[in-house]
Amino acid sequence: MSLITDLNRKALDRGVPLSVHLDVTYRCNERCEHCYLEHDGDGEMSTTEIKSALDQLAAAGVFFLTISGGEPLIRPDIFEIIEYARSLGFNVKLKTNAILIREREARRLRELNVEQVQISVYSHRAQVHDGISKVPGSLYRTIRGIRLLKAHGLKVTIANVLMKGNLDDAEGVRQLAKEVGAHYTLDPTITPMMNGDTSLLALRISSESLRTVFTDSTLVGSVEEFCAPPTAIDEDTLEGYPCSAGHTAAYVSPWGDVYPCVQFPLTCGNVREQNFLDIWKNSPQFNEVRAIRGKHLTTCSSCSHLGSCTRCPGLAWMEGNMRGPSTADCEKSFIRTNIPTANMLKRGYTDAQAFAASDDTMLQPRLRGASRPLIQILPAR
């Protein structure tokens, strides 16, 4: 067993929230066409309140802290926040578009020993990237920031979100990552906006394109392994839990709301009103999420993909039932293996394109929705 697996197991056994994603603002200096956020900053936590939240997270045992947004560097106190987080012993990962990173910022992040920085790049071509970010010159400034971070010895991951507008540029971004010495991830997941607007789903790539991605060995490594048929369902799978959300991971919004995950915006409490550890241990919402095992899932518990599906309980919840299927993941499981899922069969579909084009895909989110990469495809080494 690897040390990280052992660590996760210990945290799970003891009910410790090992990882927390903290969005310090939803304000942003880009307007990416696929973004699920509304960029309202009214009422977000002050410096003092964020420090208090960090104290609470440290006391609860949180080790891995992802600081994100919006654009976190838009906050003038961001380095004070990161410095405070580091003083509390957190392993800090920063998600940014790097537009505001110049020499001083890169040096400061190195001095603060931020463990890694993740930066979104949608294309190696300015007209495509800037077209998606809606900010002319943004690719130039983002790459400038990446080079400065690398020059200061920081670990950088370039994260590419694949959508219709940049479908042809995945390889170009991969080459760019290689050239600047960054890690690279590719994610075809597009989710509804927080306000429930599902129009963003029109940006999703087609089933046919997704199949092309899933069978590209330069992106997924072993296609045979990535697209392998699901294995037989065993007792461990039926007794297993869907993902780390609410088990060893949680999310805190700029207003202090606590969710199981950024992609699972079920309000469990607020750190302005209640101690994080109290929320984590005693919130009925967290306890409900934690009680769900594979065998409790409606439809999915009888699906042959149960053991290998990337089913997201947050997306399922946004579809109306946290124990139900996450339709986008049903589609992915089918496209990977060409074996229909129980959800598809139940709805009378055996063809992914018809399934994806149907009106019941993603349905109407009942509350605020959010997203973070659901499937990450690491490039072949």
Partner: protein, 108 residues
């Protein structure tokens, strides 16, 4: 768990300070440490965790052993000190602990 055995320290009096370049959190009595420079994850056992927590740069390793280890584990001080020397040498070679012959101030 750190298992590397290193050469005993040369200095008669050693002060140890936690490196600024790591993240650390205690879980179930063991200290998890991750290096920001190479993302390597370490886990310290209970004894090593006691030493890590006491590594303020101001308390000598001898005093840490006497006051924390011998007091807690009923072990003779020379044996404990030799083991502690080997441990802190290992941690220093991994860049997660700094050694000095003079007191320093510890801050992250």
């Amino acid at each position: 768990m750190i298992t590397t055995v290193a050469t005993p320290l040369a200095a008669a009096t050693t002060y140890i300070t936690r490196s600024h370049a790591v993240a650390a959190r205690e879980l179930a009595g063991e200290m998890m440490i991750m290096s920001a420079t190479d993302s390597t994850l370490f886990s310290l056992n209970e004894t090593a965790t006691l030493i890590w927590n006491a590594a303020d740069g101001k308390t000598s390793l001898r005093d840490i052993v006497e006051n924390k280890i011998c007091h807690e584990f009923e072990i003779d001080s020379e044996t404990a000190y030799r083991d502690a020397e080997a441990l802190v040498s290992s941690l220093a070679s991994l860049g997660i602990l700094q050694l000095s012959s003079e007191p320093t101030s510890a801050k992250n």
